[in-house]
């Protein structure tokens, strides 16, 4: 029986889209947490981190309730796109997004906070707006750590199981991502398919981690200004 590679391609597509979304949302949240003091800041941080510690089924349940066909966001989505969100591959993107966002926000906040404040202060005295100094000074200086965080977020999106199962279901050829497909293959005794997908996912994750480590400046490495 030929191995069905569709789940792997689906997962890569889902991970790419969810990482792009997580990057946009995550950078904004990280900036907020790193630069602004406001009431309830640590609560916001805790809420963002919650998916990291909650069982995936709990997170999946919340999302199902929040985005289901009976909920307001679910109805709005259905009215705009004509189809419900849940049990589509787009729902898998949402699942992966919530699963990987905390990782990105946490790492990006740390990366932004590790940039010496004098660079930003200097940019301000030179007349640069907050927007300009963020994108042209802070982010470029922290870019390696941010890149590493993005690679980790991608790897995590790729491997999500529980939330995806709850929110997107297990529809072969439509919403069955690689993690779910492996479970399915093992359950149905298709050892060859399980092995192939397991090896592929492991290799991709391994490469991503190696890249992340290479990008992430080690605190013990000699300081390389300008790199």
């Amino acid at each position: 029986m030929p191995i069905d590679w569709f789940p792997l391609w689906l997962s890569l597509r889902v991970a790419a889209i969810s990482t792009a979304l997580a990057f946009a949302i995550g950078i904004a949240l990280a900036w907020l947490l790193a630069n602004r003091d406001f009431k309830g800041k640590e609560w916001l941080d805790a809420a963002i981190t919650l998916p990291l510690v909650l069982p995936p089924t709990v997170l999946g349940y919340y999302l199902l309730v929040l985005l289901g066909r009976e909920s307001l966001p679910g109805k709005v989505y259905e009215a705009v796109f004509g189809v419900p969100l849940v049990f589509t591959w787009q729902a898998a993107v949402v699942a992966a997004l919530f699963h990987s966002l905390p990782l990105l926000v946490k790492s990006a906040r740390a990366a932004l906070e590790s940039v010496d404040r004098s660079y930003e202060r200097a940019a301000r005295t030179l007349g640069a707006s907050e927007w300009k100094l963020f994108w042209r000074v802070t982010v470029p200086i922290a870019r390696r750590s941010i890149l590493a965080a993005t690679a980790l977020a991608f790897a995590r999106s790729l491997g999500d199981f529980g939330v995806t199962l709850m929110l997107a279901g297990n529809i072969p050829g439509r919403t069955q991502t690689v993690a779910v497909a492996i479970y399915d293959a093992v359950e149905s005794g298709n050892g060859a398919a399980a092995r192939a997908l397991v090896i592929a996912v492991s290799a991709i994750a391994m490469i991503l981690l190696a890249l992340a480590n290479r990008w992430n400046p080690s605190p013990f490495a000699p300081k390389q200004a300008g790199t």
């Binding site: 010496d116 004098s118 660079y119 202060r121 200097a122 940019a123 301000r124 005295t125 030179l126 007349g127 640069a128 707006s129 042209r136 000074v137 470029p140 200086i141 390389q224 200004a225 300008g226």
Partner: protein, 357 residues
């Protein structure tokens, strides 16, 4: 020109003592220095002027424009203040070349003007050769010049320098002095410089503010302050004084003199208006104003018997440190002639003693 009245309080925390900055200063054109020990509030003052820190009370004016006014709630952003700031670590953007660093600062200028100005600055600060390099590829002196050139590109109202000489070796320091003089001479931009280095004050400062525990203890030209420190604290800060507790034994307004008693000995001092016979005050003088001689019989008037603790070689002079914290500087040659002396007297010429306060 800066006129600043700043009040900023930091409440004491569990691990830290509280701190109150309460300063009032008006700089004239030229180079003004803020001098004080670590923790006296120098950099905080600079940060309030630059707009990084918001004071609680007071008002900051630059060339008659209000940068901050507590009463009316004005607090301009650092972007709107047009103050050049040179950071101690230079804060050159590490991912940009020297040219890009300058161009970033020139983005407020129209494109053509910016290009011309960047080139002009590169040339004036001798950076043309390294314009394409990143900050980590250039020397310390070049970084210093680059950060100053970058601060000047937008024609700021004032250039603020935060401890620019800290950690620099002697040649780099000399280069720094030249560049600061260049700011003043070629650009006419006033400079406010923070330092805890006295040499820097005397090399560069036309006006000096002494900061102590968050307050301005004295203002004036460095020479005037050195000549007449306003209090014991300032004298100690200047660090080059012989401080001597004395009792006023006689006052003669006619001849403008006084007699000051130290133990059994009398020293001549200036007339001291506002003091009474019997007052105990502090007298001071610089090590270079005193002389030390071998003792020959009883000490004469204006001489104090003293025990030499150690002699230190300084560039061009020998510094003799006596018991009681009195130091004398003399040419090294003369010390070599006297080095076998075991019993010393210190001679106080009649005009050198100043009384503090």
């Amino acid at each position: 020109m800066i006129q600043a009245r700043i009040l900023k309080r930091y409440a004491p925390g569990p691990e830290s003592a509280g701190f109150t900055l309460d300063v009032d200063l008006t700089t004239s054109a030229g180079v003004a220095v803020l001098f004080g020990p670590s923790g006296s509030g120098k950099t905080l003052t600079l940060d309030c002027i630059a707009g990084f820190v918001r004071p609680e009370e007071g008002r900051i004016l630059a060339d008659q424009q209000i940068l901050f006014d507590a009463a009316s709630g004005v607090h301009l952003s650092p972007q709107a203040r047009h103050c050049g700031y040179v950071f101690q670590n230079y804060a050159l953007f590490p991912h940009m070349t020297v040219r890009e660093n300058l161009a970033f600062a020139g983005e407020r200028l129209p494109r053509l003007e910016r290009h011309r100005k960047v080139n002009e600055m590169l040339e004036r600060f001798r950076l043309s050769e390294v314009a394409g390099r990143r900050p980590h590829q250039i020397s310390g002196g070049q970084k210093q010049r680059c950060s100053i050139a970058r601060a000047l590109i937008g024609s700021p109202r004032i250039v603020l320098l935060d401890e620019p000489g800290r950690g620099l070796d002697a040649p780099l320091r000399a280069e720094l002095y030249d560049v600061v003089r260049q700011i003043r001479a070629e650009f006419g931009t006033p400079v406010l410089l923070v330092t805890h280095d006295l040499d820097e004050c005397f090399e560069l400062g036309e006006q000096m503010f002494i900061l102590q525990d968050g307050q301005v203890a004295q203002t004036g030209s460095p020479a005037a302050i050195l000549d007449k420190p306003a209090g014991l604290g300032v004298a100690r800060l200047l660090g080059i004084y012989n401080l001597l507790p004395v009792e006023i034994a006689a006052l003669d307004p006619g001849r403008n003199t006084s007699q000051l008693r130290v133990g059994e000995q009398m020293l001549a001092g200036p007339y001291l208006p506002g003091h009474l016979i019997g007052d105990r005050v502090w007298a001071c003088c610089r090590p270079g104003q005193l002389d030390a001689l071998p003792r020959n019989g009883r000490p004469k008037p204006n001489q104090l018997e003293a025990t030499l603790q150690r002699a230190v070689d300084k560039p061009g002079a020998a510094r003799l440190e006596f018991e009681g914290g009195i130091a004398v500087e003399m040419p090294r040659q003369r010390f070599l002639e006297l080095r076998d002396t075991t019993e010393w007297v210190i001679e106080f010429p009649p005009t050198v003693l100043r009384v503090i306060g």
